[in-house]
């Protein structure tokens, strides 16, 4: 166990190194580069046994991970934005083949116009691809969730690839304190990957990726959807095990206990803001300040986004009067993606909170204290439209 101050990118690289993947295949893209550069150093210096494939594109990266994972080893990649969009087709394939590939997404806006700064459009627009998604607020969470994602994805009940998402620059390039446990403890928590359903090996020849006819395709899809739905329980278990194995070392650098959501000062709250990722840190500060002034406000931070923890959210928001959903992504011509999903949770409920949608921080627009305060007061005062962009 070492407490260090390090970039979130490097915390992830550390976690990946300590998870001992056999194959890393990645293509550089800002702001993911610091992760893969660090991993390259580890490889160059022999600090990891992993093979690093310097692919010619992100399409190549995810495909190489597919190949490696199908050969029965742990495989890892990292990307974002244009790179994630370029992987789109293969993302569906990897999850359909139930290969537990693990990925880091360093959230960045999508072109056009081209923009290298943060929002979450990239991974949000990949919400249908059948991957587990978790979002990190801090460098510590980056490290922790990265370790956990391998365990979750590879669980035999899950066998579903996963993304850990962190905000580009706003988190990825921030140096802050992180606690890195010992390799021994990590090994205990995360044993080697043992293939369960798929491995390319002349000892037992298998056929992976056949054609699925109308007579079976829908059942195959259902079994995949069931697996990701059921993973909600497995994720809870892994969170729990992690909480027990790795108690908090640096106060406030992560939730006391990992759960699908983190409830921040929600006791007795009338108004709750919902958000994901690094902006939650900033919101917490504003919540503290508002609470000081006697405002009954709290934050509901989503950590697990796919599978969408419907029951947990519903429970957490029970009795809340007004909820503001803050999103760093849109669905042009439709309502905010997270807004829609939350509204669907409450559709059948008698008692439900007032729900507002705020689009924030697109393309690196900073989410300042003022902007958060504005969202709070608009929500409180029922001002503005159902969906508001906070510029």
């Amino acid at each position: 166990m070492t407490k260090k101050i390090m970039e979130a990118s490097h915390a992830i690289a550390e976690a990946v190194k300590m998870a001992k993947p056999a194959v890393i295949a990645a293509y550089p893209i800002t702001p993911q580069t610091h992760i893969v550069e660090k991993l390259s150093e580890f490889v160059a210096d022999g600090e990891t046994e992993a093979e690093y494939i310097r692919v010619e594109s992100e399409f190549g990266a995810i495909s190489a991970c597919l190949g490696a994972s199908a050969t029965g080893v742990r495989s890892y990649t990292a990307t974002c934005s244009q790179g994630l969009a370029l992987m789109n087709e293969v993302l569906f394939i990897v999850s359909g083949m139930r290969l537990p590939v693990c990925m880091t997404v360093v959230n960045r806006a999508l072109s056009a116009p081209i923009n290298i700064w943060n929002d979450q459009q990239d991974s949000i627009s990949a919400r249908d691809v059948g991957w587990i998604q978790m979002y990190a607020e801090t460098s510590q969470e980056c490290y922790d969730l990265t370790l956990m994602q391998f365990k979750i994805s590879e669980d035999h009940r899950v066998l579903t690839p996963s993304m850990v998402c962190l905000d580009g620059f706003t988190l990825s390039h921030v140096y802050e304190p992180v606690d890195i446990p010992s390799q021994k403890k990590v090994d205990e928590f995360l044993p080697d990957y043992v293939p369960y359903h798929a491995i390319l090996d002349p000892e037992q020849p298998l056929t992976l990726g056949p054609i699925g006819f109308p007579s079976e395709y829908m059942e195959l899809r259902k079994s995949q959807v069931d697996a990701i739905e059921n993973s909600i329980k497995v994720i809870e278990q892994v969170y729990k095990e992690f909480n027990e194995s790795f108690p908090v070392q640096i106060k406030d650098s992560r939730p006391e206990e990992y759960l699908h959501v983190e409830e921040y000062r929600m006791e007795g709250a009338d108004i709750v803001l919902i958000a994901m990722g690094s902006v939650c840190g900033t919101i917490k500060v504003v919540v503290d300040k508002l609470r000081e002034k006697g405002e009954k406000v709290g934050l509901l931070k989503l950590i697990t986004y796919r599978p969408f923890p419907r029951e947990t959210i519903k429970k957490a928001l029970k009795g809340i009067k007004k909820v503001a959903v803050l999103e760093k992504a849109v669905s042009p011509g439709g309502d905010g993606p997270m807004y829609c999903e939350i509204s669907s949770i409450f559709y059948d409920e008698k008692e439900k909170p007032g729900l507002r949608n705020f689009i924030i921080g697109l393309g690196g627009r900073d989410v300042t204290f003022d902007r958060i305060r504005k969202i709070y007061s608009m929500t409180k005062g029922d001002k503005g439209e159902k969906q508001e962009w906070v510029f």
């Binding site: 093979e51 190949g67 054609i211």
Partner: protein, 304 residues
């Protein structure tokens, strides 16, 4: 047990759903025989993938994986890396795809894998069009051939540009072994594929495989036509080993059969002869075939 130099054991089972007379299916038999039991196979989307794995059935008797249409070379890269880490570098990694995947949509990734230098063999079963989707032109479709996206018509003679020279293109990627082969010469093809698999580094064999459905030829002629392609010089057989050419066919153009024989045998070239003969196009093809052969011979003799 070997017959005609080919192992008797089959790794690609009957019951597959290829058309009768499919040349690519012959190629698959040869590829799998060359690969042998200790191999992992990678295949992109295409006829041979569709006809071989109708879930819950599979024609394969070897480890086999299909991801997408574009990425067999990338998947193979991942497999090679995984095998390396597992200390199982004795296992052959053999990717094979149609010309659509190889010449077009998957070529960027193939090029990348060759640049990186993975130890795998890539075999293109070259049936000169996208057959699985109904005979559309590919970068490998020969000049003048009619396909459903390059139909012959009032303003079109079929495919309007020459076939991409992928074999040389990959040779110039620094591959230690590239070769052409034809299902018309199964023993030669088998040997080349085996050599490709045994050579360390990224290697390539382009095996011409008649598609009776797409070429509009009688099913029984599949092998005959694949031979004719070689005998007329349209599809020369050669190897490039560490940059050195060697041709295994008559180098003397005068000993070749007329190119017309090859064209006439196939429905996809019918419009060059009917309703009237397109002398210009036929001549152009003949000349270019001759020129290509000439260059190839020169290379074999003098250069690399």
């Amino acid at each position: 047990m070997a017959i005609l130099g080919l192992p008797e054991e089959e790794y690609f089972s009957y019951g597959h759903r290829a058309c009768a007379g499919c040349g690519a299916a012959i190629a698959l038999r040869l590829i799998t025989k060359a690969a042998g039991r200790n191999s992992i196979l990678v295949e992109p989307t295409g006829c041979m993938e569709v006809i071989s794995t109708p879930y819950p059935e599979t024609a394969w008797k070897l480890p086999w994986v299909h991801g997408a249409f574009e990425n067999p070379a990338s998947i193979a890269s991942g497999i090679c890396a995984a095998l390396k880490v597992k200390g199982r570098e004795d296992v052959n990694v053999v990717a094979f795809g149609g010309d659509g995947s190889t010449y077009d949509i998957g070529f960027g990734h193939l090029s990348g894998a060759f640049e990186r230098g993975h130890n795998f063999a890539y075999i293109c079963y070259d049936n000169e069009a996208y057959m699985n989707t109904g005979i559309q032109r590919s970068g490998s479709t020969p000049y003048g051939a009619a396909t459903t996206t390059s139909p012959a018509g009032k303003k079109s003679i079929g495919k309007e540009v020459w076939k991409k020279d992928l074999v040389h293109v990959l040779a110039y990627h620094g591959s230690p072994y590239v070769a052409t082969a034809s299902i018309g010469y199964p023993t030669d093809a088998y040997k080349k594929i085996k050599k490709a698999i045994e050579t360390k580094g990224p290697t390539f064999v382009n095996i011409l495989a008649t598609c009776p459905t797409g070429w509009r030829t009688p099913t029984e002629k599949s092998v005959e036509i694949a031979k004719l392609a070689v005998e007329t010089g349209v599809f020369p057989l050669y190897e490039i080993v560490d940059g050195r050419h060697s041709i295994n066919m008559p180098k003397d153009a005068s000993r070749l059969k007329p190119v017309e024989d090859y064209l006439k045998a196939q429905g996809r070239f019918r419009h060059l002869f009917k309703p009237e003969r397109n002398d210009k196009a036929i001549k152009y093809i003949e000349e270019r075939v001759k020129e290509n052969l000439h260059r190839l011979t020169q290379c074999a003799e003098k250069c690399f």
